[in-house]
């Protein structure tokens, strides 16, 4: 059965308007300071039309392209997690009252976000964080209250970035659920249009208000072909065969010394990673000591404080910390959440200041094995 719709590119903004009408705060890719980031927008015209990005280990450059495409670039330095799992957030305030105190949790209004331009790998990252922040026993309130309101417009990838390897991680380049609407952008002799696939009731309903037609089979196939070509042009690949076994059996490998000599322990990889979820809390007081607050902020297993306890540190060496990150991401994550912690978005490769490449690291580790 064919539910695919054809949305002409000049009607893309109607989608934006419908979402705004439904009181969503629109977040979409825009150009800021020489890179594409996800920020609040008002219209489709703010999208980085005609721009693409070139990503390699430790380099990211924007390039003008004369195709007028809305989505011919890959993932941004920042992932959607910053909206669902804010980098810094106040958990509660406390007022001292004599020998007792009163705790007030935050009741700031939480916006309903519409994420526009979510890539398939990023959809999978959100799915992974859904599992992380609802671990069966406990649910993270901060995440949940934001997540449950989100409307997702996914965009299938019609070009592969230099550091992409979603095919290896089975997370792209085509979205397989987890979205409200998925778009595939097509520019050819027939024009500039999107194949739009509703993925939820919310999505179907929204599309009803938007001028579009049922997509013809040939148009659907054109879109399919673009995505398939993308799959064949992945910038990188990661061999996931027996990956858990490889990592668990390599805890004492000399390889870790090698990577530790290159790793800066700067934490960039974890902060750009769309699935990394570690956080810490900070308690603060005003100078009188009568008002206190607790804040939560992103943390990273690369910081020294991460595994510090009174009287010692469980992971003092950079070798131990890199091993924790890689082993967690690719192996123990599977035990914890039934899925790899890596979606192949390539951010950790692009944004590592010295270009440490997770796909190469796995190869090196295999060679040592």
């Amino acid at each position: 059965m064919n539910n695919s719709l054809k949305l002409e590119s000049h009607h893309l903004n109607t989608l934006f308007n419908s979402l705004k009408r439904d009181n969503y705060t629109l977040i979409a890719p825009i150009i800021s300071n020489g890179s594409i980031i996800y920020e609040q927008v008002n219209s489709a015209e703010e999208l980085p039309r005609g721009w693409t990005d070139e990503q390699e280990a430790a380099t990211y450059r924007l390039k003008k392209q004369n195709d007028n495409a809305y989505f011919s670039y890959n993932v941004s330095p920042y992932s959607w997690k910053k909206f669902l799992f804010p980098p810094h957030i106040r958990l509660f305030t406390v007022e001292s009252k004599g020998k007792s105190f009163k705790i007030n949790s935050s009741d700031a209004p939480i916006p309903a976000y519409a994420f526009i331009g979510v890539r398939p790998c990023e959809l999978n990252a959100i799915k992974i964080q859904d599992k992380v922040f609802n671990n069966g026993q406990y649910t993270d309130t901060v995440y949940k209250t934001r997540r449950e309101k989100v409307f997702i417009v996914a965009v299938n990838c019609t070009q592969a970035g230099g550091t992409c390897f979603c095919v290896s991680m089975n997370t792209g380049p085509k979205a397989k659920g987890g979205f409200d609407i998925a778009l595939t952008e097509v520019i050819n002799e027939d024009g500039h249009f999107f194949i739009a696939d509703p993925g939820s009731e919310k999505g179907t309903k929204l599309m009803e208000d938007i001028p579009c037609s049922t997509a013809r089979q040939s148009e659907i196939e054109t879109a399919e072909r673009l995505v398939q070509t993308t799959a064949q042009n992945m910038g990188r690949s990661l061999d996931t065969n027996d990956i858990k076994k490889l990592l668990f059996a390599s805890l004492d490998s000399p390889y870790w010394n090698d990577v530790a000599s290159r790793c800066l322990t700067c934490a960039n990889c974890t902060l750009v990673c769309p699935t990394c979820f570690c956080s810490t809390v900070e308690d603060i007081t005003d100078i009188s000591g009568e008002h206190a607050e607790r804040w939560r902020r992103w943390d990273s297993c690369f910081t020294m404080d991460f595994a510090r306890v009174f009287g010692g540190n469980f992971r003092p060496s950079s070798k131990g910390r890199y091993r924790q990150w890689l082993t967690h991401k690719l192996a123990s994550w599977i035990d914890q959440f039934g899925t790899s912690g890596c979606v192949g978005c390539g951010r950790c490769i692009t944004w590592c200041p010295v270009g440490i490449d997770i796909t190469e690291e796995v190869k090196r580790l295999k060679n040592e094995y």
Binding site: G34, P77, L264, V272, E282, I287, W298, M304, P353
Partner: protein
């Protein structure tokens, strides 16, 4: 409580006074601090001078003369908690650049009667002479961090001062990495956080004003900078600035000194 306010004293050694000024610069907050503590000694701000002992001694500047050595020991003795502030106090400061040269040559050139000059041959951090309870980094320090440290010590809690890299600050702030996106050489990955990532926020590479971060891999960064086209001399200069004499930066600059 009014008469039991903790006594705070601020002292200065070889430095530009910039760090002390950060405290004065914190106008609104300073009033709250002044209300909560008894400023017993702070020549930059007040003529009042109360005798020690002090609950908190705040020290700026590096130790450069034999007289300084005696004085800092005296200050340590008078201060229950000793907090040192700024790159001069924590690493010897910019004046530690002289540590690579012959001090006699300098004094002969600069002073008409060098025989009156009594100086140590190096500019040294405070911790080389006395035990220090807390080191606040920066050239200059961040005034909010100083307020946080004083606040934390007054409330007997842990100061929320992180020793991770400047990169973490950039990321928390939402900056795009200028090294990756613009190819700008940046010391952020090996530099102690605290400034709020000022330079990268303005598309400038980090100068390392806050000194080495908790586990700096300076040689890996240098290697990368070299591959990006920096010369060995550039790299030596990059590490040999405000925190030149901080151990890891010192070693790295020495490695690139030809």
């Amino acid at each position: 409580m009014a008469n039991k306010k903790p006594k705070v004293a601020v002292f200065k050694f070889a430095s530009c006074d910039g760090c002390q000024l950060s405290l004065l610069d914190a106008e609104d907050e300073l009033l709250a601090v002044a209300d909560a503590v008894d400023i017993a000694y702070f020549p930059e701000a007040s003529r009042k001078m109360l005798k020690g002992p002090y609950d908190i001694g705040v020290v700026e500047g590096s130790i450069t003369t034999p007289h300084d050595v005696g004085l800092i020991r005296e200050i340590r003795r008078m201060s229950r908690t000793l907090i040192i502030i700024g790159a001069c106090a924590t690493a010897g400061g910019i004046q530690a650049l002289r540590n690579w040269k012959d001090i006699k040559e300098f004094t002969n050139i600069v002073y008409a009667t060098p025989e009156y000059i009594s100086t140590l041959d190096r500019s040294m951090p405070i911790a080389s002479f006395v035990h220090v309870d807390f080191e606040l980094r920066g050239c200059p320090i961040n005034k909010y961090q100083l307020l946080e440290v004083i606040n934390a010590f007054l409330n007997q809690r842990k100061p929320n001062i992180s020793a991770y890299s400047v990169c973490v600050e950039c990321k928390l702030k939402g900056n795009i990495c200028i090294a990756v996106a613009n190819g700008i050489p940046c010391l952020g990955p090996v530099t102690h956080a605290g400034c709020g990532a000022i330079c990268p926020s303005y598309k400038r590479g980090c100068y390392g004003c806050f000194g080495p971060m908790e586990s700096p891999n300076t040689s890996a960064l240098s290697k990368h900078l070299f591959e990006m086209g920096q010369t060995g001399y550039d790299i030596m200069l990059a590490f040999r600035s405000f925190n030149a004499y901080a151990l890891e930066f010192r070693k790295e600059s020495d490695a690139y000194e030809k």
